[in-house]
Amino acid sequence: MPKITPKDLARIREKSRQSTTLREGAGRAKVTVHMGTCGIAAGARDIMSALMKEVESRDVKDVLVTTSGCAGLCSREPMITVELLDQPPIKYVDLTKEKMQKIFEDHVMNGNIVNEYALAVGSERAH
């Protein structure tokens, strides 16, 4: 691709927001698996496979699966963030494959937050 200019930054920003922000119509739900070294060490990769398996076996097309780095609270890894359209994100902690399956069924598919596995609602604010 050709070199970008400062103006292109704004264009990429808008485009990227559209493809990552559910509000802009990228999908119905987004699941972020936090995969830093500690997350992976705690088993994030198993959570990711369990998640992918759910997506594939149910053949859902409107759920975005993405990865991100460490969310900071290492003692509660593995951790994911689930965001449904027009709802604040929910962070789930201390996950196992079984918990991931339940979260997918209850929250991602049916919109009911699984309270017992959830840490918090909302996201951190950059200062």
């Binding site: 070294t37 500690c38 992976i40 060490a41 705690a42 290492c74 003692s75 890894e77």
Partner: protein
């Protein structure tokens, strides 16, 4: 062990025969054999026209390198501060008893070697032990036999958790 001349020559050319890249070359050799074989070092020394003492200096200065063959399942116990205060020392002793080798040694059957590492940066999971590329966190003395058991009979390479 026979020196794989082709591999070494190709590697040297990849670094444009740059003497400043010798540490990187040693890293490549270490990555391939899990230690620095003596004959390979001798060949590298003549090919790069540097004294072998220089290579030996690097090999003993940097922690990555080993002059002895390592086990098929290299075990590293993290000795970071968080792991230390959460009892990593006793973990080492337990592993020493279980596989009957001391810290820094390789078992006779070349199955295991045992080392300590200065902080893997997973302090939230302390104490931490790695076997090959598998990482185990929140370890206790009583969990050790179960972990080692997985590798005792396994003929396959451990599953990589970090690529």
């Amino acid at each position: 062990m026979e020196v794989e001349v082709e591999f070494i020559d190709e590697m040297i050319n990849g670094y444009n025969r740059d003497k400043r890249a010798i540490v990187s070359m040693l890293q490549d050799i270490q990555d391939k054999y899990y230690y620095l074989p003596e004959d390979t070092l001798a060949y590298l020394s003549s090919a790069m026209e540097v004294p072998i003492s220089l290579l030996y200096g690097f090999a003993t200065f940097y922690r990555t390198f080993s002059l002895q063959p390592r086990g098929k399942h290299p075990i590293s116990v993290c000795m970071g501060t968080a792991c230390h205060v959460r009892g990593a020392g006793r973990i080492i002793e337990k592993i020493e008893r279980e596989i009957d080798i001391k810290l820094g040694e390789t078992s006779d059957d070349l199955l295991y070697s045992l080392d300590e590492v200065h902080c893997l940066g997973c302090c939230g999971l302390a104490p931490v032990v790695t076997v090959g590329d598998d990482l185990y966190g929140k370890i206790t003395v009583t969990k050790i036999p179960g972990i080692l058991k997985k590798y005792k009979t396994s003929k396959e390479e451990p599953v990589s958790q970090i690529d």
